[in-house]
């Protein structure tokens, strides 16, 4: 048989059938017709920020915590845990598909409370996932395959930008319920209840457990109670996304209140957890996905199917971050250090909110900036319009997503004044 000697390949395009005519266009590549994908709206902000040479530039895009010097913060409990792990010289054998047992157990305890009935009865199945994204994706895949109800996931309006493509790729359809009220920069409680009351039965409703992303607007406990009631009435399947436990108020129990309340009220929820922010383990990809089942027997069945879903995606999850998290959660000394450090991060955010609001007042802004203080968690939905955001970026090198969301974590005592200046300039 003749061997092709030349390195240059000439595809015999003339022989391709008409239906594959697309292959004949560009440079005989399989990908000639492929469009450039649009940059990710959130991560794309960081890319643009990096290219900017303005010394006063601020990255208020991605939600990664920064200390008051604007530097990434590696928690000391993490460093201590790493030292302990390093000294143990463990092997690197594959984890089971569901992940590290010490991690998944303590992950569930953190969410539900150590003495929760749901844990004692063994009716939860918690698997280790690739942080929050991986958890949501597994959840979406699971719903797509097994949920008998409508394959609609109802997201609050607005929600984290990546929720929609994740669930779409998992095979679900997306719908929304009213949530954010732009006129108050607060919670549209009546609108939410109204919309939720009309959601078809057995649909999936996504709730942000605390520190709503992107708005920072959370329901109050009394409001959560009413939401629980109407969700129960409508027989909806609840999917909680908890990416900021501890990070919102500084108190891990307080931030898990809604999740625990719903479970107590009998909702058998789905839950995604992330340890990216509250343990600063972003790049280690530490997360959990939980299904609260009817009983332990059902949990076993669900677990077996989750494994079948996970195996063809990445086989089994990464060890490093889960080991760090498990060490922290299961070592009392480290656990209390962690609680302190989470509180410290949350409190710095709260301080920056107060300083930003004060700064805007000082600049002479006549607008109401109360929402900057009332909103909670890493993000602040400023209320800035896209044109104002564009100006803030262009004229002040302040980078944020065009929905007006800023990551308070990127604000420091050194730059909060500059930020107030910029916001005032584009809104006056």
């Amino acid at each position: 048989m003749a061997l092709l000697k030349s390195n240059k390949v000439i595809y015999c395009l003339g022989n391709i059938t008409p239906s594959l005519g697309v292959l004949s266009t560009r440079n005989s590549s399989w990908w000639g017709g492929l469009q450039m994908g649009p940059p990710d709206p959130i991560l794309g902000v960081s890319e643009a920020f990096k290219k900017d040479s303005n010394p006063k530039k601020m990255n208020l895009g991605v939600g990664a915590y920064r200390d008051d010097q604007g530097k990434p913060f590696v928690l000391s409990c993490v460093r201590k845990a790493e030292a302990i792990i390093s000294s143990k010289q463990m092997d690197k054998e594959y984890l089971g598909i569901g992940g590290l047992g010490e991690f998944t157990k303590s992950c569930a305890q953190l969410a539900f409370g150590n003495d929760a009935e749901v844990l004692k009865s063994g009716r939860n199945i918690t698997v280790q996932t690739i942080s929050g994204t991986g958890s949501l994706r597994i959840g979406g895949n699971f719903l797509s395959r097994f949920h008998g109800g409508p394959c609609d996931v109802y997201l609050p309006k607005p929600s984290w930008g990546n929720h929609t493509p994740i669930f779409k790729d998992a095979g679900m359809q997306l719908k929304g319920y009213r949530y954010y009220d732009p006129s108050t920069c607060g919670f549209d409680f009546t609108g939410a209840l109204d919309d939720i009351s009309k959601i078809p039965e057995q649909s999936v409703i996504m709730l942000h457990a605390c520190a709503h992303n992107p708005t920072g607007v959370d329901p109050k406990p009394e409001q959560w109670k009413e939401i629980s009631d109407i969700v129960k009435k409508r027989n909806l399947l609840v999917f909680f996304d908890m990416a900021y436990q501890g990070f919102a108020s500084g108190d891990i129990d307080r931030d898990a209140w809604a999740v625990r309340y719903f479970v107590e009220q009998g909702h058998n929820i789905l839950l995604s957890q992330s340890f990216a922010k509250n343990m600063g383990l972003y790049g280690e990809r530490v997360g959990g996905f939980t299904v609260v089942c009817k009983d332990a027997e059902e949990a076993k069945r669900v677990e077996s199917q989750l494994k079948i879903l996970i195996r063809p995606i990445y086989s089994n999850p990464p060890m490093n971050g889960a080991r760090i998290a498990a060490t922290i959660l299961n070592t009392p000394d480290l656990y209390s250090v962690w609680l302190g450090e989470v509180k410290e991060m949350a409190e710095r955010i709260i301080r920056m909110r107060e300083e930003l609001a004060a700064g805007l007042k000082k600049e002479g802004s006549s607008k109401n900036w109360q929402h900057v203080i009332d909103q909670i968690g890493m993000f602040c939905f400023t209320g800035l319009k896209p044109e104002q955001v564009a100006r803030l970026t262009k004229e002040f090198s302040v980078y944020m997503t065009k929905d007006g969301r800023i990551s308070m974590a990127g604000v420091t005592s050194g730059n909060v004044g500059y930020l107030a200046q910029g916001i005032h300039a584009v809104t006056k």
Partner: protein, 410 residues
Amino acid sequence: MSVFSEVALAAPVAVFKLSQDFNNDQFPNKVNLGVGAYRTDEGKPWVLPVVKKVEKVIVHDDSLNHEYLPILGLPEFRSSASKIALGEDSPAIQEKRVGAVQCLGGTGALKMGAEFLRRFYNGNNNTKTPVYVSSPTWENHNAVFANAGFDDVRPYKYWDAANRGLDLAGFLGDLESCPAHSIFVLHACAHNPTGTDPTQEQWQLIAEVMMRRQLFVFFDSAYQGFASGNLDKDAWAVRYFVSMGFEMFCAQSFSKNFGLYNERVGNLTIVARDADNLKRVLSQMEKIVRTTWSNPPSQGARIVAVTLTSPELFSEWKDNVKTMADRVLLMRAQLKAKLQALGTAGTWDHITEQIGMFSFTGLNPKQVEYMVKERHIYLMASGRINMCGLTSKNIDYVAESIHETVTNVQ
């Protein structure tokens, strides 16, 4: 009434069930020849000395943090990993038409490649494009491509059970008769589970047909360095195909050759026609990554990148890899010798002709069952054994067991 009351109990993945059964077995001389992970002669997992060294450096480096990696992964990892596959002086790399996506292990790399191909190859969202996997193949190949949305995942002839070798005529026949633009998953070296690789001449024949019929080349490279002990030798097929001008994917795993199993270190190397095509491909890969895991885990990639980019560490790593490969070769030689000495029926040349971690012994399901139940030696129903499970202490017992099994069970 639960929403999940209809969810059936799924069967466990066979290879993990095997390990579970092994763990539960109380027999003192039990042997685990199941899961594909390297073991030392003491039967223990082996964290490579170079990995221990690099990990120490990382844990003491206060300038490092745990920030998100870019969506496509750690740049130094991606480029150095691709260089390992394609060669330091690869013309394709010099022509700037090679890119990569850091993924979660080899599985993750296959997944990303599969998702991309389903969306963008041979039309848009063409779920009907046939995907061919070898018969037999790693059991997860089927699920990876099926779950990525491909409706038609089929076997191509590969293993000739009667002759215990490659069914080249069958393989080439499938290449000639398959629908145009079919995707073929090729094992770069150390075929799993048979340990039987095409020779260089055979690869050339395979490449010729694939080029002529415009079939898509998707290499699965999970054992580079592990097969022969030599990285370049084990990458010959991949590099040959690149030199032939294919646009192709190569899913790389660093689980075995770096012993980084649980850190999930993989790389999808992409060879495109030119830089512009590459750029567009990578931009679409980002979107797929973003909805699956957002960005990959940093620890394992860091270890590999630090190792590959330091001449001394790279050299040390190659030695570590050779250590593993050499032990496997030794066990192969000894097992064959012992079976021959015992006069075990049949020919056992395939034990040393096959390459890599696995050997397709030729034991049939009944014989396998006998081995497991009566001899407490755990191997896959296909007759696949992991050579790494053999040690100087258990090799006699295993050889005797095979002998007894072949003699008493047909």
